[in-house]
């Protein structure tokens, strides 16, 4: 039992991201409302962002901005002074900035499409739309 708990504590970030991702995936598959699906899609993307950001964490390290890296005395700081162990990994943060922008862009396009669908069928429920298509 202590083993299980300690492994859960060790891997809690992965467990959270998996849970969040599955919630999003379920919403996208099982929900009938088109906007709820878009919300599910966003949760799915957010889960991946959480995963990446949690990769970047490092015990005993601080935010990735070099201390005293600007202003007076900045010139004395060279690579010998900066230790990689003192700063967390900046790369996942950079990647996720990209992924966040992509998520926002996709959300905007998806909402625009939902508006277009609504203009045409006067509803956002998938089964009602399919019923309208079948009637023709």
């Amino acid at each position: 039992m202590p083993d299980l708990i300690s492994s859960i504590v060790d891997y809690y970030n992965y467990l959270i991201y998996i849970t969040l991702m599955m919630i999003g995936l379920y919403a996208m598959i099982a929900k009938k409302n088109l906007v709820k699906k878009i919300v599910g899609m966003n949760i799915f993307q957010t889960a991946i962002i959480l995963f990446y950001v949690s990769i970047g964490a490092k015990k005993g390290a601080t935010i990735p901005i070099i201390q005293h890296g600007h202003g007076e005395g900045a010139d004395e700081i060279t690579s010998s002074v900066i230790k990689a162990a003192e700063y967390i990994n900046p790369l996942p943060h950079v990647l996720m900035l990209t992924a966040i922008v992509v998520a926002v862009a996709t959300l905007g396009v998806a909402l625009a499409l939902a508006i277009k669908v609504y203009n045409r069928y006067e509803t956002l429920e998938e089964d009602e739309i399919l019923a309208q298509i079948r009637e023709k």
Binding site: Y11, Y14, L25, A30, G56, A85, Y87, V101, A112
Partner: protein, 276 residues
């Protein structure tokens, strides 16, 4: 569909949890992710780019090419929203509502073009109009300039503190969207017309890609800001820092205008007439 969803979710979750067994535990400094590429970013980037904020250095320089396309993604989203939703102005008669400010009487006018109200006391109102809330309007109007100032600070200070083009651009965009929400869409468009933000959006991305192309013209690789040293008359490392700033300004411009563009199109369903 619900059962199918549960099956897919359980299968995917099982695969992910199975793979979790070999992951390094949370925040383990010995994880391969921290020991291959990233130490060099942390140790060298101040020396190579003279930017203390490592995220900015990696974002705009080491992986600047990704960031360029990221800006292109948000630009594409703006163009797609415009392309899908915008309804060009037609001369079909539409019903517009005007309100007499002194008596509160509302009249509907069927007209083909927007006729500027002849009398000072008539104001154009939205279909879903609510009485003006002085507190909200005034607070938002006071907030907007501070928001914009903060946005500019975030863009300009991205080298030294958390921030940069995207964050600052979003704040700037939010200031205009706040104006549109608290007043109405026409007020916001009056400050910044559709043509202006559409063109500025491409100009923003153009600044980024153009800086890259300029480096190429000056004889080094695409986006190698070191080439700018020749025209900025500084040493190559400082030139990288300046190059990052130029690029961040482009990003800020593109993100701000793209946000406004997407908001305007979606909230007015492409009519640019009434928001939300």
């Amino acid at each position: 569909m619900r059962i199918f969803g549960i099956i897919v979710v359980i299968l995917t979750g099982a695969l992910l949890i199975y793979a979790m067994g070999d992951f390094p535990s949370w925040a383990d400094p010995a994880s391969p992710a921290h020991n291959h590429v990233s130490p060099r970013y942390i140790e060298k980037s101040l020396e190579q780019t003279s930017v203390p904020n490592l995220v900015t250095a990696v974002l705009a320089d080491y992986r600047g090419y990704d960031t360029m396309f990221e800006t292109a993604v948000i630009f594409a989203a703006g163009v797609v929203c415009f392309f899908l939703l915008r309804i060009p102005r037609k001369d079909e008669p539409t019903v517009r509502r005007y309100r007499h400010t002194l008596t509160g009487i509302t009249i509907s006018v069927k007209e083909t073009r927007e006729i500027p109200p002849v009398l000072e006391e008539f104001e154009r109102i939205d279909t879903l109009w609510t009485p003006p809330d002085l507190i909200i309007k005034t607070c938002c109007r006071i907030l907007v300039p501070f928001l914009q100032l903060f946005g500019l600070y975030v863009i300009a200070h991205g080298h030294h503190s958390p921030g940069g083009g995207f964050q600052g651009g979003v704040i700037l965009g939010a200031s205009m969207i706040l104006l549109a929400i608290s007043h109405d869409l026409r007020t916001a468009i009056g400050r910044m017309s559709e043509r202006v933000h559409a063109i500025l959006c491409s100009v923003g991305v153009f600044i980024f890609a153009g800086t890259g192309a300029l480096c190429l013209v000056l004889g080094l690789n695409f986006l190698d800001y070191g080439a700018l040293a020749r025209i900025l008359h500084v040493d190559p490392v400082t030139a990288r820092s300046h190059g990052i700033l130029i690029v961040e300004i482009g990003v800020g411009l593109a993100v701000m205008t793209a946000m406004i563009w997407i908001y305007n199109n979606i909230s007015s369903k492409g009519k640019y007439d009434e928001g939300l």
